[in-house]
Structures are given as C-alpha cells and as structure tokens.
C-alpha cells in the first residue's frame, strides 16, 4: 500500500535519508526501529508531504503521493507526532475531534464531542480531561491525547511516532493493545516508530531497521531475534559495543 523508492533527503549538509526503500502492505503493522537521529520521523513526514524528499518516489496505492488532491490524500491518514503537537489554544476534546468539527468529515458538535470522549476512554483517559487544555496535562497524558486525535476519524493509514515513550509500563501495554486492535479489527495500516522492544513485539507484523540513511534490515517480527544482522542484534539487545557507534 505504501511504497518508498530510493528516497533521499538532506538538511543542508546533513544527509539524513540516503536511498530509503520500503514497502508496507495494506492492513499490516510495520514497526520502524533505529538509533536516535537516524531519520525515522523525517521518513514519516516525507510520506505525508510535510517534508519534501530531494529525490526518490513515494507511492500510496500505486499513485504518486505528491500528485492529485491533497485533502483527499490526507483525509486517509492519521498521525501521532513525536512531541504530541496538540493545539494549545483548544481544549482537549476539540483537539481530538478537530477533523470532526470542520471540513469534509464535519459532524454536529455534540456528536463530535461524544466521539472525542469515547476515543479518550480508549487511550485510558477519563472524560474530565475533555475540557482541560493541553498545557494542563502531564507529558504522558498529552501523548495519549495525540493518539486519540490520530485515531479519531478512523483513518485507513495511521502513523505513530513513539506512542509509548513517556508512559508507565501498564499504560504502554494498553496503548500496544490499542494499536494492535486498530490494525486487526479496523483493518487499518499502521506504521509505528518505537525504541521500546516489548512494544515492537506487541505491535509489529514486520520490522524495518533504519541505519545510515538506509533500511538496514526488514523482516517479520518472528525473525527479529534470528536476523543474523549484527546491527539489528546490537539494537535489539541494547549493547553499547557493536557496529553501531554509541556517539552519533
């Protein structure tokens, strides 16, 4: 469903992506792992068109992502940003229901609010946070509001940038289950970035490792421990010694 072909992206003299090729099948859950600063977030932003690649092609359903109606294209996506990116001028429920309050998917206000509260419940937040402002929430709560916003309009394709960072282990478990559920029950296609190996095992159908601006390894999650790739092994076991330098 999503295909990246030889995508390159540099920021001035910092070559971040150097020929990334990746295929995400429809209805599957792909997890991208890789060291901090290797360009995982940039790769997701390239797919959404928030960052323009210097070269290479990005296809969604076989069609070039940069061509055609942007609104219709983006309406198929949901995205949880690494930093939450909540609108701090709007209360929590209006953040979650943002898409449902305006534009093509607009619904009556009361209905939108109900959906927002339901989505908040699914990420483990009580209805009383609905009327608070993002700045009044803890970091982990903000992350979960961002997650609720990403899934609120039930998009076909959802990107989660570090959904469990900053959450306690129990809440992380709840979120892992939720992501799994969205893929298996709603048939959505998910791409998740995470550093949390238990999360990788809980969420992923396939795993891709980004290193040195390229996809270093990709395969089903069952082969993660037997990949035979020294980079993947070092990463999975969190060793300081190995081919990946600790100072980057």
């Amino acid at each position: 469903m999503i295909t990246l072909e030889n995508v390159n992206k540099s920021f001035s003299d910092n070559a971040v992506l150097r020929g990334v090729s990746l295929y995400v099948p429809k209805g599957s859950s792909m997890v991208i792992i890789g060291g901090s600063g290797t360009g995982k977030s940039v790769a997701l932003k390239c797919i959404l068109g928030l960052v323009t690649p210097d070269s290479g092609r990005i296809l969604v359903d076989g069609r070039d992502a940069t061509q055609g109606d942007r609104d219709a294209f983006l309406a198929r996506f949901g995205m949880l940003f690494q930093g939450g990116a909540l609108f701090d001028s709007l209360p929590v429920w209006q953040n979650v229901a943002f898409r449902l309050l305006r534009g093509a998917l607009a619904r009556p206000r009361g209905e939108a609010r109900e959906i927002a509260i339901e989505k908040l419940r699914r990420v483990g937040l009580t209805p009383d946070v609905a009327d608070r402002f993002p700045a009044e929430l803890s970091g982990g709560m903000q992350k979960r509001v961002g997650l609720a916003r990403a899934i609120a309009a039930e998009p076909e394709i959802i990107f989660f940038d570090e959904p469990t960072t900053g959450l306690d282990p129990i809440m992380a478990g709840v979120i892992n289950d939720l992501i799994r559920e969205i893929v298996t029950e709603m048939g959505a296609t998910a791409v998740t970035i995470t550093h949390d190996m238990s999360s990788v095992r809980a969420i992923a159908d396939t795993v891709a490792m980004l290193h040195g601006g390229k996809i270093r390894w990709t395969g089903p999650v069952s082969q993660l421990d037997t990949s035979g790739d020294p980079y993947v092994e070092q990463f999975v076991h969190g060793r300081a010694e190995g081919p990946i330098e600790a100072v980057r």
């Binding site: 983006l74 309406a75 943002f98 305006r102 534009g103």
Partner: protein, 260 residues
C-alpha cells in the same frame, strides 16, 4: 580584501531585501486570495476580531489622547511665535486625522498584534502544530493567516477612526481647560475644517497598515526557524518589518492623497 568587496556586500544586501520583498508580496497575495475561497473558519475570524480590534482599544485610546493633548500644546506655543494661536483646532484635527492617528495606531498595532501573531504562529511551527494542522486536512493559510489578515483589514480602520476622535478630544480638553479656548468655537472650527478627503485618507491608511501588520506577523511566524531562538527572531523581525513598512506606506499614501 579587494576594493570592490564593500560594493559586493552592498549589492548582496540590496538583493536580499528585494528577494524578501518579493516573497512577502507573494505571501500577501496568497493570503488575500484565501480570504475569498472556502472553507471559512468563522470561529477563528471571531477570535481575531476580538484580539486585533476590541482588545486593542485601550492602548489605541491612551496613545491618541496623550498625543492629541501634546499636539495642542505644541501648536499653541509654536503658533504664538507668529500670533497664530487660534489655529490650534484646525491643525490638531488635520494632524491627527491625516497623519498621527493612522501612523500611531498602525505602530501600536505592529507592537501589539504583529508581535503576538508572529510569536503564536512561530510557536505553533516549532512545536509541529502547523504540521499537525496540515495532516488534519486544514490549510494553515486559511485557518491561521486569512482570518487574522481579514480581521486586521476590517478593524484597524475602525481603530484609526476611534484614535482620530479621541486624539481630537485630547486636544480639545487641553485647549479648553488650559489654553482658554471657547468650547463651541473649537468644535465648530474642527468640524468645518476637516474635509471628506482627510477622513477617507485616514481610513484607507488604517486598512493598509492593518493589512501590513497582520501579514508581517503571519509571514515571519510561518518562516520561523527552530527552537525558542527561532520564535524570538521571528517576533523581532516581524515587528521591525511591520513598523518600517507602515512608515514607508504612510509616505506613499500621503503622497497619493495630498500631493495631486
């Protein structure tokens, strides 16, 4: 260093300013285009009206009243040098309506509104809120920029009108209370003297300065670099650019209205 180096630097600086001017103009045209094309965001527009218009009233009123008062004192003491004290009401009216009202309101709006728009949008940029808007199928030019520019275009002329009236009132109070003018004559002289053209020029300047102030805030906010420093630079740049452009536009508009 070669002897032509300073020339080269000067040339580059001029080119940079011209390029900036071009980008800002394109941005302004784009922003104004979005005002007329749906979707519209009435809630955002309402908030912008409140922020730009209503909440600017106190600062505009205070600026105008002190300026009008000082103007009356200056004209009186200056006029006394050639026995022309009686001209206070006419000159206060002309000075406020044609020049000081629009310019001072414009500069106060640059200080108050441009800076807050730039800081707000720049912060949204830096915290990825603009990216989030885009992924939620909402065009930042329509959702953030168009409502603010339209609100400024509509409310700043009204603020200028208020400033003109309060400034003249400031002059009136000083003239009547301190300088011994007859209240009725003062008012009559003011009203009789002002022409339609003075008032129209005042409002047109207001609309132009309001647009400049909002567009600069939005442009610098959207162009903001990363981090707190980026927000700081964007805010500073927006106010500088807005103030200078308002003064330049004032010169051009004054020429247009009164030298023909």
């Amino acid at each position: 260093m070669s002897p032509t180096a300073p020339l080269g630097a000067l040339g580059r600086a001029v080119l940079a300013v011209l390029a900036l001017f071009g980008r800002v103009t394109l941005f302004a045209v784009d922003a104004i285009g979005h005002i007329f094309r749906p979707p519209f965001y009435p809630r955002e527009f309402g908030l912008a009206l409140l922020n730009v218009g209503w909440l600017s009233l106190p600062v505009v009123g205070l600026t105008a009243i002190f300026t009008g008062g000082a103007l009356a004192l200056q004209i009186y003491s200056g006029g006394a040098r050639f026995n022309a004290e009686a001209v206070v009401p006419q000159i206060v009216a002309i000075g406020m309506v044609r020049e000081l009202g629009p310019v001072l309101v414009g500069l106060m709006i640059a200080a108050r509104v441009t800076s807050s728009i730039a800081a707000e949008i720049a912060t949204m940029k830096v915290t990825e809120q603009i990216d989030a808007l885009v992924t939620l199928s909402t065009h930042p030019m329509k959702y953030l920029v168009a409502p603010r520019v339209l609100a400024a275009l509509l409310t700043v002329p009204a603020l200028v009108a208020v400033g003109d009236v309060i400034g003249i009132a400031g002059g009136y109070v000083v003239a009547v209370e301190r300088l011994g003018f007859n209240p009725a004559t003062y008012l009559k002289n003011t009203v009789d003297f002002l022409e339609m053209r003075d008032i129209v020029s005042s409002l047109v300047k207001g609309a132009a300065f309001g647009t400049i102030a909002a567009v600069m805030g939005c442009y610098f906010g959207m162009q903001s670099g990363r981090g707190a420093q980026g927000v700081g630079r964007a805010t500073k740049g927006s106010v500088e650019a807005a103030a200078v452009l308002i003064l330049a536009a004032n010169f051009l508009l004054t020429g247009l209205f009164f030298s023909l």
